[in-house]
Symmetry: C2
Subunit: 562 residues, 2 copies
């Protein structure tokens, strides 16, 4: 493609209003143009990259037996009322009325449509399993669209839905999808982790989020480099520490601690480390109060607490509630003489001679030991993991990284088939609801995530698997006829084996090089002064390695190195 | 692909509510499923065919330098107000409000978006010409959606827009597009004609409609088999007849014609042919009345009349107006002694001794001759052409056929660039509006048009260029283990060179054959009883030619014949 005929409106200045690196680089390299908040036109370079990503997704979906369909954008309200989501989805669901005043949603996801599609056609378990997918524009009326294509209101998704008559079949497809997603994100060049996620109201831990590691993500991912281990920080389990040799138990002592209202001030006051202190919290577990002790340098994880007690809700008690129960300020609480059950985090369970609040304002006990000074009702994992601890799979020390969710696999079970009556006759002739899975990939979001992790300070560095072109041919001096002739010939020759962008514009060399760095194709061939000796320069965008070769050797060099 | 894993819900009964052949066959062969009026899910077979059509369109667009982009579905109201179409487009424009109460249209076409896109980026004529295209879902709130995908409310279009600094460049791209469109419709297997169309309010004859010939079209196309000649019937010119040898002029005579009020009753009364009579019409041309004579067997074409007089409007005079001017009934009008100018159709110009109304109720003149009995103010082409006449390019006799509009190429000129301020600096540094062209293809509509012209009474017969699969493998008896093993092996072997659909379902042979005819792949390989002698049957869907070959020879046979 000749660059003069392509539409790549690069910018000299870095746009200041863009709020993420990928957003800035997409604007600066002429890849997108905003039409309204969160609504973009994808310019030629973007479209080429999207086509490449979509092709990889299609191949991997086909490979696991997925069949491509295309469902409508306009969803009749009646279907969303059946599932109960017409109300539940809230104002993120875009809605419209047609000329006959009928209500439609603009599809943000297609569970309702695909369930309605199948319920008229599926009669018997013999037609199962079935996996349908589509690649399509979706709509979500984000309150605050931002980060360019990462959080837009109109975006491209791959969504897939699978249908099964038994759990084993759902498990199999779920695992196939997991594998296909791993292949997809590996192939497009993302450093990703599959994270077991909280499935919210659906229940069960039957969902994984695929997170591209990135500094601008909104979730914290806990992972190790030594294995595939990754978890959302809310879910990351802390390993149970080995018991330490029992130390001599010293005498319990009540000491005044004037002005102490935190673990940090207690540690200073007692001249000990923060990790030698403890934190006592009162938590309301579905209406029952309990006391939980964690180490002073740790943070309570309310989701773990909720799960430990199998509760609906776990909330910190208010100051007034604490005063009512313990007759002490939150900074002076402790388990000794507590009227409510006391639970210990595993890390407190292995501590000796530690300080706790005395349930008297501005007094603490020191040299406390559980078993002697109070009895614990139980021990558990009640806290957030910290960076550098051992991972729960013992593969290594955990690191923290923010992540961008680029995909999710999800066992829906019978949520939609029950509310919308998608049943089949099973082997015994009984009507049973169909088991479903759903599997999404944000295609335009994946593109942004690729840029977030493949760039330097001059521009994008496309992975070869998704690059819009393989090679950028540039003439340094557009007035040099010999260079131009050589470029045209090379463009034609390389075009037979590679996708080539040829910068034939009448621009200064500096502008062309800057644009070329921004656009970020894997190889650049510069036809400059050396052409008078039949030599051109080849530069790799990633390694920045530069070589001079004879013009007749360019194809050979690229074949050996591309 | 194994048919058991594909989703092809064929029907045994022909759906009665479908209103076109393609609609019926798409429902019956499990290609589409309606979600709401004019809104469909495209099932796997449809998606495969659409992908093939889109690929052909992409190739031809790229071939003429078109660059692919992807514009938003949601269009801010402000842009449509700039062009004046927010009101003008009427209730076919689907509209919605976002959560902030801002108005958007769901794009039925993208002139506003593409013009807004370019006006910020295009500064100089040096960046021109430029051709951008996209393949995308579009929306139009049809009052009465019908014919399946032929007139839907949500449909897939290819739309392209070109930008130029001078007419010559616009002409060149227009011609390139015309050629690309011809290639596309030829490649997908349509019998099409490019028809010069009425460009309506835009002015000029700078538009062609590409019509797929089909019985269910809404427009009548006039064409010949001998050349590419085709025209909308409104536009099809009648050739000027050669003058016949002058006959002896007989004496003018006024005869009573009681009860005669039409050419047909006049012909009966006088015992002459209908084509020997004349029809006198009074037409209101922008407020001035004229009289036009055409032959009794012809129909007046008001568009030709309007164009002849260069008028805004040409309307038949009312009975009251006629009575006021001529003091006679419409059935007794004639040019002799007329107080308003008289015009003759070319075919009347070569008549002698013909009858006309006498401007006295129930009286006619016979043996009238213009020049002697009255003077004509002019002659012209005022009528619709009839089937069997010579075409205006003299290539042969015209035929009539209905047509489905599958594409249109259009010179927009400066309509949008002027209203929306898309200007560039020209060679002299002056700001001038950009010339634009727009070019559409209905992708989903093209698919329907293909089925309308490629079928028999058992189902679809896909052209090889767009067929969803090349070969259908069928085992006649699913309980025959040998046949099944042979089928599996053949499926694998053929799969290396062809796209194969393998009907592995446990259905009766009759069901499989009926489905196979419906689905309509080019070749069917049946593994039946002959397999015990190592022989299978190959049948071509179009010619119905059937051969029996050894199973080892199938690939060879197909290579020679596909």
């Amino acid at each position: 493609m000749k660059q003069s005929r392509m539409f790549i409106p690069t910018m000299r200045e870095t746009p200041q209003d863009a709020d993420s690196l990928s957003h800035r680089y997409m604007l600066k390299s002429g890849m997108i143009k905003q039409m309204a908040a969160g609504i973009y036109t994808y310019l030629p370079i973007t479209k080429l990259v999207l086509n490449n990503i979509e092709q990889i997704v299609r191949e991997e979906m086909n490979d696991i037996g997925g069949v491509e369909i295309h469902m409508p954008v306009l969803h009749p309200k009646e279907l969303w009322e059946e599932s109960g989501r017409w109300q539940a989805y809230g104002s993120e669901l875009m809605r419209m009325k047609d000329r006959h005043d009928r209500d439609f949603a603009l599809g943000p996801t297609h569970e309702e449509i695909v369930t309605a599609l199948l319920r008229d056609e599926l009669k018997s378990y013999k037609k199962l399993p079935l996996t349908l997918f589509q690649i399509q524009t979706k709509f979500r009326d984000e309150l605050r669209p931002r980060f360019g294509l990462l959080r837009g209101r109109e975006f491209i998704m791959k969504d897939a839905y699978s249908f099964h008559s038994d759990e084993a079949s759902l498990d199999e497809t779920y695992n196939d999808m997991y594998r296909a997603y791993s292949n997809i994100f590996r192939r497009v060049g993302l450093n990703y982790r599959a994270v077991e996620a909280d499935s919210g109201s659906i229940g069960g831990s039957h969902t994984h989020e695929f997170m591209a590691l990135s500094e601008i993500g909104e979730d914290i991912i806990v992972y190790t480099d030594e294995s595939g281990y990754a978890s959302n920080i809310e879910k990351a389990a802390c390993i149970v520490p080995e018991a330490v040799d029992s130390a001599a138990q010293e005498a319990l002592e009540k000491v005044p601690t004037p002005g102490v209202d935190s673990c940090l001030s207690l540690a200073e006051h007692l001249n000990i480390g923060l990790m030698d202190t403890t934190k006592t919290m009162v938590v309301n577990i579905d209406g029952e109060f309990v006391m939980i002790l964690i180490r002073g340098d740790h943070e309570l994880n309310d989701i773990k607490v909720r799960d430990y007690f199998g509760a609906e809700d776990a909330e910190f008690a208010t100051d007034a509630e604490i005063r009512g129960i313990m007759n002490a300020a939150p900074g002076s609480l402790g388990p000794v003489g507590s009227s409510i059950p006391v639970y210990l985090d595993h890390q407190v369970d292995v501590m000796y001679n530690y300080p706790v609040g005395a349930n008297t304002d501005e007094y603490h006990y020191i040299n406390v030991n559980h078993g002697r000074d109070f009895e614990a009702a139980g021990t558990g994992d009640f806290r957030f993991i910290t960076e550098g601890e051992k991972a729960e799979d013992y593969s290594g020390e955990v690191k923290f990284m923010k992540g961008i969710e680029v995909g999710q696999v999800f066992k829906l079970g019978t949520k939609y088939s029950e509310s919308m009556n998608l049943n089949v006759l099973n082997e015994n002739g009984r009507s049973v609801p169909v088991l479903m899975g759903c599997y999404g990939i944000g295609i335009s979001r994946t593109l942004s995530a690729i840029i977030e992790s493949h760039h330097d300070d001059r521009g994008i560095i496309w992975p070869k698997s998704v690059t819009p072109f393989d090679i950028h041919i540039i003439t340094a001096n557009p007035k040099d006829r010999d260079a131009q002739d050589a470029a045209e010939k090379l463009y034609e020759a390389l075009g037979r084996e590679y996708r080539v962008l040829y910068d034939d514009r009448k621009e200064r060399a500096g502008v062309k090089f800057a644009d070329s760095d921004l656009i970020g194709l894997p190889y650049r061939v510069v036809i400059g002064r050396g052409i008078k000796d039949g030599r051109v320069e080849i530069k790799a965008r990633d390694s920045e390695e530069t070589v001079e070769v004879e013009i007749g050797q360019v194809t050979e060099y690229l074949k050996a190195n591309y």
